[in-house]
């Protein structure tokens, strides 16, 4: 019985990237600080994973000013949503194959 791990998206092989996508799937725009708190990782760690997802066009970025403070927030793109949902379907298929 061949378990199709090929359908799993390599981009989501990192727990942190899974986490970022999970949060962005259910919230419109999430700012850097909130993501950092939710995932409990360092600035640099988060920044590098986000830019990787951005390069894949799964995540889009919005920079604005809240008063005087710069604020960066992120949202999932249409491609990102599709890619993540495909990944979730693949995960579920793998799990179902055991029953």
């Amino acid at each position: 019985m061949k378990i199709s791990i090929d359908d799993l998206n390599k981009a989501f092989e990192s727990r942190i990237r899974l986490g970022i996508m999970s949060v962005l799937m259910v919230n419109d725009w999430v700012d850097f600080g909130t993501l950092k708190e939710l995932l409990n990782i360092t600035d640099g760690n988060l920044a590098s994973h986000i830019s990787a997802l951005e390069k894949l066009e799964y995540v889009k970025i919005k920079k604005q000013f809240l008063g005087k403070k710069p604020n960066t927030s992120y949202a999932v793109t249409k491609q990102g949503k599709k890619a993540f949902n495909d990944h979730l379907n693949a995960l579920e298929k793998i799990i179902k194959k055991s029953t």
Partner: protein, 211 residues
């Protein structure tokens, strides 16, 4: 079968993060139990006061109807309801803070702001509407209206906290509508809606999430 275990773990983590980032999970079910208890006591006191009021009214029917008595009764009921509300909110906040600390979460985050706005707007609208009804002396529908508005506020807020709140809201709306059809039993329905249902849902939530 390592793939299965890993996939299950991944899905679990995904679901947990999705929940944590979009819902305020520190709401304590115990606050419902306390709020329900306060409401039952408040309803009982209101019932006693109204009984006392109607019996003195029949004694005095030969005299001019004092607007004094009505105001006194109205004041008591408003004070009663306000006290129940204050104690419920106060206890709820205390218990929620305690649960948040236990979970290592903060209570003031973007999710709580969303929750508060979605809860307070229908609630305040309901409160103003009830004041307007009082002004127009439409007393019979005030209690049902409080339940209906409260139920809608809960259904709205239920999207941003534990989902059980959504179902509680649904029950409150149904009960409020029934109460509107039978205006004579206002206090009874109020006691069920704010008392019994809160204790019921509060206990369910407490044993589901905290025990």
């Amino acid at each position: 079968m390592n793939e299965q275990a890993e996939s299950i773990a991944q899905l679990k983590e995904i679901r947990s993060l999705m929940e944590r980032s979009s819902r305020f999970l520190s709401l304590s079910g115990l606050s419902g139990v306390f709020a329900g208890t306060y409401a039952l006591i408040g309803a009982w006191l209101a019932y006693l006061k109204i009984n006392q009021f109607s019996s003195t009214l029949t004694l005095r029917s030969s005299y001019r109807s004092d607007s004094f008595d009505y105001d006194d009764l109205a004041l008591f009921l408003v004070a009663d309801a306000s006290l129940v509300l204050l104690l419920s909110v106060g206890t709820g906040l205390f218990l929620t803070l305690r649960k948040a600390k236990k979970q290592g979460q903060k209570i003031w985050e973007p999710v709580s702001k969303k929750l508060l706005i979605n809860l307070l707007i229908p609630l305040i609208a309901g409160g103003i509407f009830c004041l307007v009804m009082m002004h127009h002396q439409l007393y019979g529908l005030i209690l049902p209206a409080t339940m209906i508005f409260y139920g809608m506020a809960l259904m709205n807020a239920g999207k941003y906290t534990l989902h059980d709140v959504w179902y509680l809201g649904l029950c409150e709306i149904a009960l409020g509508l029934i109460a509107a059809i039978y205006p004579g039993y206002g206090i009874t329905f109020w006691a069920i809606g704010f008392g019994v249902l809160h204790i019921l849902y509060g206990s369910i939530m407490y044993f589901k999430y905290e025990r």
